[in-house]
Amino acid sequence: MTRIDDKPLGGGHAVTVRGLVKHYGETKALDGVDLDVREGTVMGVLGPNGAGKTTLVRILSTLITPDAGRATVAGYDVVRQPRQLRRVTGLTGQYASVDEKLPGWENLYLIGRLLDLSRRDARARADELLERFSLTEAARRPASTYSGGMRRRLDLAASMIGRPAVLYLDEPTTGLDPRTRNEVWDEVKAMVGDGVTVLLTTQYMEEAEQLATELTVVDRGKVIAKGGIEELKAKVGGRTLRVRPADPLELRPLAHLLDELGITGLATTTVDTDSGTLLVPILSDEQLTAVVGAVTARGITISSITTELPSLDEVFLSLTGHRASAPQDATPADARQEVAA
């Protein structure tokens, strides 16, 4: 079967979404979403649980149909041309997964055959991808014996078999420890280097900054901001300063001092007693200097001071004026269960 290499309808856009709506009963999982992903870029879709990220990915991978709106991927309409669309997309995510009872090699061979590769090509592709994702050693073991990171790598390998033009990564590192997360990031960066267009959903600002070139922030089924990472960071108000005084008893006096000086970004200074640090949102390098100056003037010894990206919470607070929707809001997964019932 030949690959159809149509030029995308969207004029350089690999993914074009217009007014997409999906309701699950009362829950508006998507409430009129617009989105464009340029070819060869990584679009990060950032939002809390229940924001509609997974629903968006499920529509774009033809697992569910939208109630209203249009979406095309690589020029193919998600509703009218699902099979052609499936041929040029890959899916890795919280829900799509590998067959745990099958060895890694068999998983990849199976998908190769389902993508119409010949037996020989499917075998070669399975070997090649296991090698690339450092799974050759584990090729013959059932995937159920794999570690979390290995499983996620196998998942990535599985979504790459058909050499997709567009890859969906639905929260690819949720539930992974930091070391494994870095591993997965490296793999994703390598795939992006190969020219694949990626739509990445995530709850972590850090992940978005690591992987994405552009960001779309969603909340409660709506797009609340979009733009380049730097642009958004500027909009949100820069960074969070994490200050750790040598003596934890200095935490509160220090917080009080900074409040008096009026050095704050968008959120307010908070004390994190568990880690013994003070979180100071700042807007500029001048503020950073001022904080350091104030601390020095007061003679407080500091054991560490680091700058971090604003947290998802801070992003939301600055963009919407409210905290990120509570995690207990109906997630698409819950809604899915209700619909299935």
Partner: protein, 275 residues
């Protein structure tokens, strides 16, 4: 290129690409291989297929065989000749019960999302499941025949025996579409199992599979007479032991075709549109 300026050839490209029969067979074959690998990975999943015929044959022949045989005017030997064709007819149905459970577990694991995001015919996953269950059924049938011969069953007609196996497979696969539908729609594997048990249990025992219906009260006999499982068992009996089969055979085939015609599209549709 915009939607407004499509040439006729481009418009033709806009239609979704169909899947060829060869591609269908290739996909189904690959998925059959997957399901067989499951069995190799987890040989215990064959236990039910192997143990069921052993336990049922021994149970019915030795527990009920003597008394039912006597009431039939013979003894245990006569009952063996009666019940073995009935058990044979049941084999496909028994496999059908398990198919929904396994399918439901598949769905909860998320691997189905992967399959459904691939450009394969929606039926392939279901056809592969049914094909593998039929293979399991053949294993179970072979075990049944060995046990049956050991407890004294005389094989009178080999052709009739093979025809019964075929009929059992046809009826069983028709029922599998019902259970696949349950497997897709119900929340968890336990409910699918409970549902299967609740539906099939009365149908199995309220039929002529295990005992002649002559001694049953009138109201029950009405039920057993219309119960397709009675027709199925009586056909197998006729084929293996001799006697008229035409009417029961037709009833069984009509039920099989009817169930498949109604439930296969439902199962495939549910599979396709599961959210």
């Amino acid at each position: 290129m915009s939607a407004a300026t499509l040439s006729p050839t481009q418009a033709a490209d806009m239609a979704d690409s169909p899947i060829s029969l060869r591609a269908h067979l290739r996909h189904t074959g690959a998925l059959i291989r997957r399901n067989l690998l499951w069995i190799r990975q987890d040989p215990e999943s064959m236990f039910d297929a192997i143990l069921f015929p052993v336990i049922f044959t021994l149970l019915f022949v030795y527990v009920f065989g003597g008394s039912i045989g006597k009431s039939m005017g013979g003894g245990q030997d006569q009952y063996v000749q009666y019940v073995v064709p009935g058990l044979m007819a049941m084999m496909g149905m028994n496999m059908a019960q398990g198919v929904g459970t396994g399918f439901n577990q598949d769905f909860n694991s998320g691997v189905m999302d992967r399959f459904r995001s691939l450009p394969i015919g929606r039926g392939s996953v279901l056809f592969a499941k049914i094909a593998v269950e039929l293979m399991r059924m053949l294993c179970a049938t072979a075990v049944l025949m060995v046990v049956a011969v050991l407890v004294g069953y005389d094989i009178h007609r080999w052709a009739g025996l093979l025809a019964s196996v075929g009929l059992s497979a046809v009826f069983g696969s028709a029922l599998m579409w019902v259970f696949l539908t349950l497997g897709v729609t119900m929340k968890n594997a336990q409910s699918v199992q409970a549902m299967g048990f609740l539906v099939l249990m009365p149908l199995q025992f309220g039929s002529s599979i295990f005992a002649p219906t002559a001694s049953m009260p009138g109201w029950l006999r009405h039920f057993t007479d219309y119960n397709p499982l009675s027709a199925l068992a009586d056909t197998a009996r006729g084929l293996m032991e001799g006697g008229p089969v035409a009417h029961d055979l037709w009833v069984t085939l009509i039920w099989s075709v009817g169930l498949t015609a109604v439930m296969a599209p439902v199962a495939i549709h549910k599979f396709r549109t599961k959210a």
